[in-house]
Subunit: 275 residues, 2 copies
């Protein structure tokens, strides 16, 4: 039973709550940190959202999310760049040190084309991120999302992208490692260690992989409800020198349909038991 | 529009047909080769199945499938070994030069444990395969199946397993590369080339990845119905020196519900247009 000092919960995990409720209830439950999704900022506007977060006393782990760089035409790609710069501005405004990137993919483009749009897109917004003091955290996604959500699917691929994009000695571009997306990979241990060595392990997300999933997006398990050896991956990030927040990011129609106060207690219990 | 001289169709692709119907209708349609699933052998028995296949004049590309080595206890693992030896015997009986391995995974075992059971299992049955003149073809499966079907998920991992298991200069253990399982991997081109260089590229399976899938197992697309750049991967295996049959393996509740004669013509048209 470890303490909660490094626990962070994503607003999306308790999606039925708006930002104000999430901040209040997280703080009341003894959770010290929050990762804020843009969907939670939008109804309030960024100025009010920043006030709410600041008043809560919660530490802001990250902003979710930028990315989705690939597009079928130049206008779409430009729109993505504009949107990512706005995400960076929002991160700076709410005090988030990083923006998580779900890099994107579009049916109709090859994986190679998507990867080029992603590398070019991150390179294009990186100067703005640096100017704002905000890091960019590439989240490799499970290959089941390769067609329409992310053409970056492995830790190794994300690491190579970081190495390509970072100026020498910098870690402005790093990796958000989510157990849901990377647990199956026989290189995951080696790549977590390498990311640690390179100083690019920005973030660690936990949830679980249910063998039977009713929905490809929104049937993730709370830690302990699936097959991932989370403690093993936690030990890997510990050994890699990771000391940041441990973020609970669960998309679950099932859990969203329950009382969110009781669910928050389950999250805390699952964190203590399985992370 | 290329000819059909390398086209092979899996019995599972036209599942509503038994082995006798599949053999007759494939041959009538000008398809020269077949990959036989054990489910199609079982109702006839292996002796009669071998007669049916031989009488059809079809070339036998492979037997599907062995594998599923991991188990929660020793009895389960032994049962898997016995079953794989029987699959090898069936392959030899019907004139299949190889057995495709879906290596297996079991919720409750870690990926590392599953991988050990797999490596040990293949090593245990390999002498029998060699004695029977049958090759073993590891099929890396898409990571969406890592929990319960295969803890071997990438071409690179399969290649390392082959290198570990093959005696020097041998290619008794090789890879069955299925576009559905490997298309998302940014290392797929390099690994196809490396498999070719090592002489371990045993097989090439085609179908397609639909972005929206109604079923995690049985909603695969016919070539052209999804997002995979099959011609690109075909060019990769060509460049790697692969000259074997090109196997159409589609699991589809949708297509199985249609007239299988019309479907077979669609398969041929899709092969000509998209492979």
């Amino acid at each position: 039973m470890h303490d909660l000092s490094r626990l962070s919960v994503h607003t999306m995990t308790t999606k039925p709550w708006g930002l104000e409720d999430a901040c209040r209830h997280f703080a009341e439950a003894g959770i010290p940190a929050i990762t804020v999704w843009r969907q939670a900022i939008a109804p309030l506007g960024v100025k009010r959202a920043a006030e709410v977060v600041k008043a809560s006393g919660l530490r802001v782990t990250a902003l979710c999310r930028g990315g989705f760089f690939p597009a079928l035409d130049g206008a779409g790609r430009q729109k993505a760049l504009d949107d990512n710069r706005q995400a960076i501005d929002e991160a700076a405004a709410i005090g988030a040190p990083s923006v998580v990137l779900v890099c994107g993919a579009v049916p109709g483009l090859s994986q190679a084309e998507c990867r080029k749009h992603i590398a070019d897109g991150i390179a294009a917004v990186l100067p703005h991120a640096r100017a704002c003091g905000v890091r960019l955290s590439i989240e490799p996604l499970h290959p089941q999302y390769a067609a329409d959500r992310s053409a970056v699917t492995t830790m190794a691929q994300a690491r190579r992208l970081c190495q390509q994009l970072n100026a020498a000695g910098r870690a402005d571009v790093g990796i958000a490692a989510d157990v849901y997306h990377i647990w199956w990979d026989d290189q995951v241990e080696a790549e977590i260690a390498e990311a640690g060595r390179l100083g690019i392990l920005h973030a660690f997300h936990v949830c679980d992989w249910k063998v039977q999933q009713s929905d490809v997006l929104n049937d993730r398990g709370l830690m302990g409800e699936g097959v991932i050896d989370i403690k093993h991956l936690r030990a890997c990030v510990d050994a890699a020198g990771f000391t940041g927040d441990i973020e609970v990011e669960v998309f679950s129609n099932t859990h969203w349909a329950t009382d969110q106060h009781q669910y928050l207690q389950k999250i805390i219990a699952a964190y203590r038991a399985h992370v």
